[in-house]
């Protein structure tokens, strides 16, 4: 069962990256697209065991690094941090379901802002981007909307809804 979950999670992360680079190259309301891979990390980190969630963040970030022009490891660092953040707060979110939307928005904003800062530190000149605020806020907004689909999907894939009794049990 663990292997099946691992494989399905890995496949979904890779598919998310493929959809991000192809379909969302054409569907770009207000010239922005959601950060789909990050959303998948958030959705799966809600249910996975802690170490697995962190490794998922790192692995998904590494895939994004390999497909982008930024320094290798930069997105891995950001996504691992996002996964850790989800781990620390997921109990609270489960208690109050209305917080999920704003939580996804907040984690996306935080992650993209962290990438902007790290990118600038490591020579990507990310903060020099005049459209920086838009590039952070719009994907976060889209992620919040898409969370209504992706989060239940992750729950369904992991079969977590009916089984989970503690955050570290799966």
């Amino acid at each position: 069962m663990k292997l099946r979950r691992f494989i399905s999670t890995a496949v979904i992360v890779v598919m998310a990256a493929a959809v991000q680079t192809t379909m969302f190259a054409r569907i770009r309301p207000f010239d922005a697209a959601p950060a789909l891979v990050l959303l998948v990390v958030i959705a799966f980190a809600r249910h996975l065991p802690a170490e697995a969630a962190l490794l998922l963040g790192f692995g998904a970030g590494l895939i994004q690094d390999l497909l982008s022009e930024s320094a290798l490891g930069l997105w891995a660092l950001v996504f691992t941090t996002a996964a850790y953040f989800v781990l620390r707060f997921r109990d609270r979110i489960e208690d109050d379901f209305s917080l999920i939307g704003p939580f996804v928005f907040g984690v996306t904003v935080g992650s993209l802002a962290l990438f902007s800062v790290l990118g600038t530190i490591f020579g990507e000149k990310t903060l020099a981007d005049v459209g920086l605020i838009k590039k952070i806020l719009l994907p976060s907004l889209y992620n919040m909307v898409l969370a209504a689909m992706i989060l239940p999907f992750a729950t369904w894939v992991l079969g977590a809804a009916r089984r989970r009794s503690s955050p570290f049990e799966l």
Partner: protein, 318 residues
């Protein structure tokens, strides 16, 4: 009531992964575009490309639907604009034809060979960057088709970017709006030179060395000699330049290429070495420049039906 999760082991793993990430970043930056990171990127791109093809085909109906929705609103105004454009282009074509005859006559008189066009490779944009911060496009032509590093990429409007990574079947193009790219340009009208720098999105920054130069809104900026072949349209001045305390005149300019919606592009078979050698030893290899007025220059009729064609550099969009 919120209670923190078991933080001991997960936090340890988290810190370990952060350190690993930082080690990777350091390693990749030290390799500066080569080494293990570059090899892994090329490998990942090669593996990923077939999947991107499949996903692009599978999601085409969805993307088409959303695109047609957005197109619906702009269809009428686009139609009118295109009619005007066709009329204008027909007029320019007639002018160009007569100019071409005149130029040929004058060249024959002077005994000068016309400058040759550059070979180009037609390609389709396969994918975009995986995040909003990636100013890259992946095109469906690679080393096997003749695409090489540093080659300029254009569309019908003008310069899009340059090739920064190539695998056998695909290539990655960094857009001119990337903040790390600087382009040597000259104002077509006056010949004044300067540097154009991307800002991630929106208009680019133009710095001119001559602070007394007159810069008018709508001035076309074309590439000067350097990394790119001279004469490719790059941007149009957005606002009149203002002098700053210092040594340069600064303003902004909008790229003339359609950077947000790129479907088909052309890779110019040109490298900087070729330009240097060509400039010193063989002037006939230098690219044609765009004639004043932004009209397409001669040579468009020579295009062969094959993938690799000889193209005169893109002129400005009317």
């Amino acid at each position: 009531m919120w209670r923190p999760s078991n933080i001991d082991r997960p936090t340890g793993v988290f810190i370990g992964l952060l350190v690993l990430s930082l080690a990777l970043v350091t390693m990749d930056l030290r390799a500066s575009g080569s080494g293990l990171g570059s090899t892994m990127r090329d490998g990942a791109q090669s593996v990923f490309t077939p999947l991107e093809h499949v996903v692009a085909s599978a999601t085409r109906p969805v993307a088409d639907f959303f695109e047609s929705l957005s197109d619906l609103f702009s269809l009428s105004s686009d139609n009118q604009r295109l009619r005007q454009q066709v009329a204008e282009l027909e007029r320019q074509l007639q002018e160009t034809a007569s100019l071409q005859v005149r130029v040929s006559e004058l060249e024959a008189l002077l005994g000068v060979d016309p400058p040759e066009g550059l070979d180009s490779i037609s390609a389709q944009v396969l994918a975009v960057g995986v995040s909003e911060f990636d100013q890259v496009r992946v095109i469906d032509k690679g080393a096997l088709d003749g695409v090489g590093l540093d080659m300029p990429v254009i569309d019908e409007g003008g310069l899009i970017g340059r090739v920064v990574a190539v695998t056998d079947s695909v290539a990655r193009v960094r857009l001119i709006t990337d903040p790390t790219i600087h382009i040597a340009v000259r104002i077509e009208r006056t010949g004044e030179t300067g540097v154009l720098t991307g800002r991630g999105s929106g208009p680019m920054v133009l710095e001119l060395f001559n602070t007394d130069a007159a810069v008018v809104v709508g001035d076309l900026l074309v590439t000067a000699d350097g990394r790119f072949p001279a004469g490719i349209a790059v941007a149009r001045v957005r606002e009149a330049a203002r002098s700053e305390v210092g040594f340069s005149l600064r303003t902004t300019a909008d790229p003339v290429a359609g950077l947000t919606r790129i479907d088909y592009v052309k890779v110019l078979v040109f490298t900087r070495d070729e330009a240097t050698i060509g400039g010193l030893e063989d002037p006939s290899r230098l690219p044609a420049t765009v004639p004043p007025g932004g009209t397409p220059s001669e040579g468009d009729g020579d295009q062969a039906p094959s993938t690799t064609t000889t193209t005169t550099l893109a002129g400005s969009a009317p």
